[in-house]
């Protein structure tokens, strides 16, 4: 299913913050986790994650440090800060409201051929 770009963009920040709340991680693995969590439905252009991570870092929600990959390559890791955890909490509360509202009305909405969902 094609998911609307705006929706993908809106969910990107809470998704990344939530994944980092599981523990420190790096770009490639974060994208793999997104794909895993959404059964491959949420597809990002891989490269777009990095400007997002850097923005989150600049806002103080994540911090980064250089480490090594299993094969000894330089790898940049990110971890959630306290401000990031608070931000994630704010996102969670917002999404819960949106989710509850949408579920409520969409279960009542009538489909194109007159059927109920």
């Amino acid at each position: 299913m094609d998911i609307d770009k705006d929706l993908v963009a809106a969910s990107a920040t809470p998704l990344v913050l939530a994944i980092l709340s599981e523990g420190e991680n790096y770009g490639y693995a974060i994208i793999k986790r997104v794909s895993e969590l959404s059964d491959g439905e949420l597809q990002w252009t891989d490269g777009m994650l990095y400007p997002l991570l850097h923005r989150l870092e600049r806002r103080g929600y994540v911090e980064s440090f250089w480490g090594k990959s299993e094969s000894g390559r330089q790898r940049k890791y990110y971890r959630l800060t306290r401000a990031g955890a608070e931000q994630l909490d704010w996102h969670r509360r917002q999404w819960e409201v949106v989710d509850k509202t949408m579920k409520g009305i969409l279960s009542l909405a009538v489909g194109p051929s007159g059927e109920r969902a």
């Binding site: 252009t45 490269g47 777009m48 990095y50 400007p51 850097h54 600049r58 990959s69």
Partner: protein, 151 residues
């Protein structure tokens, strides 16, 4: 033409990115780690070096678009610098003092209307001109304070 090795291809890819001043070397190192991780996975899935490189580059996305995103990232910083620089004319005034000044000027403009009336004078041309001068200043200071309070 000789077939390029994977390392040569990655080298060319780096060179292409390095031409963009907004993408820093550390950012390229980070993207390269991503590219290599993806290539490794694709190689394990049975693709040869060339195929794996091409698919990995494709998945990483349009480098121009990514560069643009990096531009947005830095232009945000530039934008902030601009705000600070344009504010440097009033750098001696903290935003707190700006507010007090703005409030003071609003009161002054109110008084400029009220005082002459209290004393039985009608608004003179000079009074009107003073008002016309003071009001925009207080409005602009209020606006500036509002801008500062946003960030």
């Amino acid at each position: 033409m000789d077939k390029l090795s994977l390392e040569e291809r990655i080298g060319q890819w780096r060179d292409y990115l390095q031409k963009r001043p907004v993408v820093r070397t550390a950012d390229i190192d980070e993207l390269e780690d991503h590219l290599r991780s993806q290539i490794e996975v694709l190689r394990q899935a049975g693709l040869d070096e060339d195929e794996a490189f091409l698919v990995a580059v494709k998945r990483l996305g349009d480098l121009d678009a990514i560069s643009r995103e990096f531009t947005i990232k830095y232009s945000e910083r530039l934008w902030k610098q601009q705000v600070v620089i344009s504010g440097s004319a009033t750098a001696l005034l903290s935003s707190y003092r700006d507010t007090r000044l703005a409030v003071g000027l609003v009161i002054a403009s109110a008084l400029a209307i009220k005082i002459p009336v209290l004393f039985g004078f009608h608004l003179s041309l000079a009074g009107l001109l003073t008002l016309l001068f003071i009001c925009p200043i207080s409005v602009s200071l209020c606006f500036r304070f509002w801008l500062f309070s946003l960030d």
